[in-house]
């Protein structure tokens, strides 16, 4: 169990520099050798309205999930922060502005809302920042300075990250921000000398090489670039937009291009067109956009055209909760669209996996000539983790398309029925292998045909092909002491970190509990899952959706009913909720 495990929230109004402060905090803590998960939440509305929260969990061992609790609240706007007070732990700390420009009423005062166990650190943020830098704008950094002094974090990493962040804006800006930080640091040292907590003073942090701070979205973007992405077609949608923005900047450096299309249908159509023409291409979207894409995704299935589609899930149905997290597009990803449209669906559980799975998806799409859907969610996309640097190998990024050879020139059958289901695929420009792709059912040559035999045969070919991909897809990973288990948890996506943390807590207490991580959702490793289930007294599947979509998908592999833990709150699954459920099952 970790010695240091602190959840910090910076809360303010849009425009207060809340998210920026969170970014600096995460980077500085990461540079100090600690493990960090950061997750920001911000309003769907434009700048100037609504609450922003930068949430970080920091520890000396690998942090797997976020917990629904706050150990340290740094308030840049008390009105916004008041709503966070129910999450404060018994011995929490609250940093707040002790000199607001006007008198505030008791009901609007943060200090009035906290429980007596909370340690209050009132600091005149704005005054200190103004005195130090001539402007109150740096008050978010003043607040960070106060936090660093009280919690025993060295100011040096903060100085470095502030310099790095503001370097492009010139020395004056760097200087002003460092001064604001130092003002807060010194004020806290002087005024809170009797209440210094020194939590991080002796934290040794994690061993190993230097870590990098990356969000799920940037890991996706980086993975796509390293995989040799040439074209990205997309349409803005929360929470997938940062992927497009990142690639818009980076792709031209490698000769690629981002085209912002007129809608999601056009985006997927262009991806399929470009892939058909032999270019590695992808799109990223979220639920509503994904719904629009499903017809063309099945067209990719029917024409056996590669495509990589990232669905960054958010709360649904319909427009739903654009800035909240949910895992409710699993069925849409696996089954969405007309007909028996077998496709590959994979879902990373961590930022590192976002990278590796996106890299993998291009080879899977090419080799198996199919749309590959990568399912992430708002939490995974937007959270930052400090991870070991990632670099895909040449082997992992090599072209995996099976091209036809000269022997079939002139008599090329694009959809030749094979045992594996994979038929050699030509691309336009190749002489002697001309074919037409169609969304209609077709014969081996590609010409439309609706006969019962052909439809049965071709459906079988397409299914065999996708089923065959399973051997190259990431298998389930088990986390247990082996043997028979009283409760076996199965989980996917960003929820898995919470599941593992809960399971580790239970195992620490000697309970016979284990977890199975599933990242290949279609096709899935039914034999491995069935074998795991057979060793478990109870199967518990926690998910961030109301109906239990994974439970629906794989529940049939278990001899009894699986137990569901379905949360549709729009927020990440707290490990404590899972742990409570495990103990409830065992009692």
């Amino acid at each position: 169990m970790p010695k240091v495990d602190v959840t910090i929230e910076i809360c303010g109004m849009a425009g207060d520099g809340t998210i920026a402060a969170g970014g600096l905090l995460n980077q500085a803590m990461s540079d100090s050798g600690l493990s960090v998960i950061g997750f920001d939440s911000y309003p769907a509305e434009i700048r100037g309205f609504g609450r922003c929260i930068a949430r970080s969990r920091i520890g000396d061992e690998e942090i797997l999930a976020l917990e629904d609790r706050i150990d340290v609240l740094i308030s840049l706007d008390d009105t916004q922060s008041i709503s966070r007070t129910p999450l404060l732990t018994e011995h929490s700390s609250v940093f707040f502005d002790s000199n607001p420009p006007v008198h505030i009423e008791e009901e609007h005062s943060l200090a009035a809302q906290v429980e007596p166990g909370t340690m209050l650190y009132g600091m005149p943020f704005a005054d200190l920042a103004s005195e130090a830098s001539g402007s109150p704008r740096g008050r978010n950094l003043t607040a960070l300075g106060g936090f660093a002094a009280v919690f025993g974090v060295s100011p040096e990493p903060f100085h470095r990250v502030i310099t790095a962040k503001f370097q492009s804006k010139g020395e004056k800006v760097v200087d002003a921000n460092i001064k604001s930080f130092v003002a807060g640091f010194e004020y806290a040292q002087e005024h809170f000398s009797d209440r210094i907590q020194q939590v991080f003073t002796d934290a040794n942090g994690m061993e190993g090489p230097e870590r990098i701070m990356l969000s799920g979205n940037l890991a996706i973007g980086q993975g796509a670039l390293d995989a040799g992405l040439k074209l990205y077609f997309g349409y803005p949608i929360t929470p997938a937009t940062p992927i497009m923005e990142y690639l818009a900047k980076k792709l031209p450096e490698t000769g690629g291009r981002v085209v912002q299309m007129e809608d999601e249908i056009a985006s997927i159509a262009a991806v399929i067109g470009a892939s058909y023409a032999g270019s590695r291409s992808m799109t990223a979207t979220s639920g509503p956009g994904f719904a629009l894409m499903t017809e063309l995704i099945t067209h990719g299935v029917m024409t056996e055209t590669p495509a990589v589609i990232l669905n960054a899930q958010r709360g649904g149905p319909s427009t739903g909760l654009p800035t909240k997290t949910e895992q409710s597009d699993l069925h849409a990803a696996v089954f969405g669209g007309p007909g028996d449209s077998f496709r590959i669906v994979i879902a990373p559980t961590t930022v590192s996996e976002c990278y590796t799975y996106v890299v993998k998806s291009f080879q899977l799409a090419e080799k198996y000539q199919t749309p590959v859907i990568v399912l992430t969610d708002f939490f995974l996309d937007n959270r930052v983790e400090n991870i070991l640097p990632l670099k895909a190998t040449e082997e992992e990024t090599a072209c995996a398309n099976v091209f036809p050879d000269e022997s079939v020139m002139g008599n090329y059958r694009r959809y030749q029925v094979t045992e594996s289901g994979i038929s050699p695929r030509s691309v336009p420009g190749m002489e002697g292998f001309v074919f037409s792709a169609t969304g209609l059912e077709h014969v081996e040559k590609g010409t439309p045909n609706y006969s019962p035999e052909i439809h049965m045969e071709m459906s079988g070919k397409r299914f065999r092909k996708i089923r065959g991909a399973l051997k190259e897809m990431p298998p389930p990973e088990e986390f247990s002491d082996g043997g028979s288990l009283d409760v076996g948890l199965i989980s996917w996506g960003s929820t898995f970190g919470s599941v593992l943390e809960a399971v580790n807590m239970c195992r620490h207490d000697g309970l016979k509990v284990g977890a199975l991580k599933i990242t290949s959702l279609f096709p899935y490793h039914d034999e491995i899952i069935r074998a795991f289930m057979a060793r478990c007294q109870h199967i518990l599947i926690p998910e961030l959706n109301y109906q239990g979509q994974l439970a629906d998908l794989i529940g049939c592999l278990y001899s009894k009913d699986v137990i569901r833990l379905n949360l549709a709150t729009g927020t990440p699954m707290p490990p404590s909720v899972i742990e409570k459920k495990i103990r409830e099952i065992l009692s």
């Binding site: 007129e262 336009p428 037409s436 169609t438 969304g439």
Partner: protein, 265 residues
């Protein structure tokens, strides 16, 4: 007018020499006898042939409708997409491999109704694809419902009391969307089609061909062969296709002047 045996033999011989069958596939078109699409097919084949393009360097992209099956009737690479999505698919193809010559074929329903949202964007993006819109003002494949370019008041099984929606003018739309090459053509004139297509294919940028055609099966009163032959006439000799304002004036005043309406290099 009857064709004599010798004349027919000469014609067939000419066709053979023109290598036009290199572009045509061996699949038999599924269109009704007398369909205007045969003329467009002939014009496009002639164009590809005369430009000396190799079939494997050409991609023909279609959507859904009577024109949807078009790729199977040529020996180029083909991509039969979903309803309305030929244009963005072709965008992907062309951006992925600019060495390919890309033709989009589709009807007025595919391109003005379900896919109507893509026309402005392919035009303003000026993607170097050639879009042939087969406009017969009717849904033929689904048996005769009104399309976005049907005449106001058109009666059909789906509109027994007559349509209440005004028709769209695809040429005018293309002009206002900023298409850099716009031609209006008549399916009954394959040679004119081939000529304009050649010019448009050579044009660097988006080329839009609004082709008036007929549905011999479901349209007995509006865009019939007889009417179209009567109404269609070449653009005036003095028409300056480099002037967008004049091009728009021309289109608004006269719905049946045929030829290159506008081009901007």
């Amino acid at each position: 007018m009857k064709t004599s045996g010798k004349e027919l033999a000469d014609k067939v011989k000419g066709v053979g020499e023109s290598r036009i069958f290199d572009i045509r596939s061996t699949e038999l078109p599924t269109w009704c006898p007398g369909c205007g699409y045969f003329g467009i097919h002939q014009g496009l084949n002639k164009c590809i042939n005369e430009l000396g393009l190799q079939p494997h360097e050409v991609v023909t992209v279609s959507g859904i409708g009577c024109a949807g099956r078009y790729p199977f009737f040529t020996s180029t690479y083909g991509f039969h997409s979903t309803h309305g999505r030929a244009v963005p698919t072709a965008t992907g193809v062309k951006i992925a491999n600019p060495n390919l010559t890309v033709y989009v074929v589709g009807g007025d329903g595919d391109g003005l109704a379900i896919g109507g949202g893509h026309l402005p964007h392919v035009a303003r993006r000026n993607v170097d694809v050639n879009y042939l819109m087969f406009d017969n003002s009717i849904y033929g494949l689904t048996k005769g419902q009104p399309s976005p370019s049907s005449q106001l008041g058109m009666k059909s099984k789906a509109s027994p009391y007559g349509t209440q929606d005004a028709p769209l003018n695809a040429t005018l739309l293309a002009l206002s969307y900023g298409a850099s090459f716009v031609a209006r053509l008549f399916a009954g004139q394959p040679n004119e089609i081939a000529k304009a297509l050649q010019e448009g294919t050579k044009h660097k940028g988006f080329a839009f061909f609004h082709i008036y055609t007929t549905c011999v099966t479901f349209d007995k009163s509006f865009k019939t062969w007889d009417n179209l032959k009567k109404w269609c006439h070449p653009v005036p000799d003095d028409h300056d296709p480099s002037d967008l304002r004049k091009a728009m004036d021309l289109v608004m005043e006269d719905n049946f002047s045929m030829g290159v309406i506008y081009r901007r290099d």
